[in-house]
Amino acid sequence: MQYLMLIYDEEKAWDNFSEQYQGEVLDKYHQLGEYLQGEGILLGGERLQPTDTATSVRVRNGETLISDGPFAETKEQLGGFYMVECRDLDHANEVAAKIPSAEFGTIEVRPIWLMQDM
């Protein structure tokens, strides 16, 4: 089964982490990436630039509305994602728990809506 792991954490808190701690976290991400590749379950994943760099696009009544910032102001912000192939939800949750940001943020585990299910 395919899952998207959405990584949410507080950007402000990240900014306040020491450079050393940030480095440790990024190292762990690197190791995780290798682990997932090794397991053969990694389908994709990226770190995202902070929400300051986000732009929101809506089309209403034929008009394209562009605004600065993420779709909504939230306490935790989307910072990255992984797309993984897992046996079942228990396996997916196990993988999600390994994501470094899980220790100070939240990982949302979402099953992907595969076209053949429709």
Binding site: R87, D88, L89, P111, D117
Partner: protein
């Protein structure tokens, strides 16, 4: 005649739903599909049993379910795995009456599925009642006091999540098992409590919860807290005949007719608890059971061992610190005559924001003032308790208590 066939089939449905769905889920890993097949089997009963029941109805049901499963498998895209599955199904023996312990492994997997932490409690309880306990949607809605339509939607959404999110039918890994099992116990106890609060528990939630726990006990024996929960529920169940009067009014423990208590059940619960506590793995359910046991073993309210109860609450608070448990400890202190201690506890609790809108806090204060023979302050607190009380039958009881208190004041 046909009315009693209906009832008979409904009884079998309820009795065997959990097993049959577990059996079918082990083949198809799909609750919806398993239900479809099971419901087809039941529908056939109404038709095929018109001229009389088979010798062994449950054996008939199982054979019919198996045959339908084989049929459905044959119609699906064939694979080596499916061919093997069909072969093993064909080799299954028929003809023996279903025992409660049959398909135990599969039932356990289904229980863990229905009580998965990815489902919130409000979804786990109706799902467990539907799938494991064999209750129909309208029965669950009535038992949980919710609207039928919204319950149907909730169940549909829950089953959809299981399918789409891939919640598995499996026994959790050993390192996850303790936490997952605690989750199941919590759900079962919540399910049980819905039955306790219903005047006649007409859908027999208490019995369903007890049976389910007994079943789990056979598969996971010697689990101290599981047995603790079982004993706790048995003690509560033993008092259910005395808990409500004919009009559905709640009768508090101190006023219950103890002749209506089930002494055999109390004896069994007590024996179970004693054995369990010997394992020296004390936990919250065992302590709660011990407290309820002390109530059950008191032949009159006056002979209740409040000292021991107070002590047990003291232990319980350490394992499970919560304002509610501390409040119960305070009430036990009042009843044990340790008024100073009770007052200290209550004063400390009154500062806890979480509990300031909790009716029971003011009941405790009212009872304390009553013991201190301060009727006006007692009345004041009963009034506050009533204003905050959300449960109809408790509210009625408090009102009657307030009325009699006001009576004594005017005399």
């Amino acid at each position: 005649m046909s009315e009693s066939l209906h009832q008979h089939i409904n009884r079998l449905y309820r009795q065997h739903s959990g097993q049959m769905l577990a059996y079918l889920c082990s083949i198809f890993s799909d609750i919806d599909f398993a239900e479809e097949i099971w419901h087809e089997v039941i529908a056939e009963c109404f038709d095929k049993w018109q001229n009389g029941l088979p010798d062994k109805p449950s054996a008939w049901l199982k054979t019919a379910a198996r045959n339908k499963a084989i049929d459905k498998l044959r119609h699906q895209q064939m694979s080596l795995q499916k061919a093997g599955l069909i072969k093993s199904l064909l080799c299954e023996s028929d003809g023996s009456t279903l025992q409660e312990i049959d398909f135990a492994d599969e039932q356990l997997k289904l229980i863990f599925c229905c009580c998965h932490p990815a489902l919130e409690l409000d979804k786990q309880v109706p799902l467990t009642l539907n799938i494991i306990c064999g209750l129909k949607t309208h029965e669950i809605a009535a038992a949980l006091l919710v609207n039928v339509k919204s319950l149907e939607q909730r169940l549909t959404r829950t089953k959809n999540k299981i399918k789409q999110a891939g919640i598995p039918f499996s026994i959790p890994e050993p390192k996850e098992l303790p936490q997952r099992l605690n989750g199941v116990l919590k759900t079962i106890y919540l399910l049980f409590n819905h039955g306790v609060n219903h005047p006649n528990d007409e859908y027999k939630l208490q019995d369903a919860a007890i049976r389910l726990t007994q079943l789990m006990n056979r598969m996971l024996p010697h689990h101290a807290e599981l047995n603790g929960l079982l004993a706790l529920m048995m003690f509560h169940r033993a008092r259910s005949e005395a808990r409500f009067d004919e009009a559905g009014n709640f009768i508090p423990l101190s006023l219950q007719d103890r002749a209506l208590w089930n002494t055999e059940l109390i004896g069994n619960a007590d024996k179970l608890l004693q054995q369990t506590m010997k394992q020296q793995q004390i936990g919250s359910y065992q302590l709660q059971a011990a407290i309820q046991g002390l109530h059950c073993l008191a032949t009159t309210p006056e002979t209740t061992d409040w000292q021991q109860i107070e002590g047990l609450y003291g232990l319980l608070v350490r394992i499970e610190p919560s304002p509610v448990i501390e409040l119960n400890a305070a009430v036990a202190a009042i009843m044990a005559g340790h008024l100073l201690r009770a007052r200290e506890l209550i004063e400390r609790l009154s500062k806890v924001k979480e509990i300031q809108q909790y009716s029971a806090l003011y009941v405790a204060k009212a009872e304390l003032f009553l013991k201190l023979e301060n009727i006006p302050d007692s009345i004041r607190n009963f009034e506050k308790a009533i204003a905050l009380c959300q449960v109809i039958h408790e509210k009625n009881y408090l009102n009657s208590k307030l009325a009699s208190l006001k009576n004594t004041l005017s005399h």
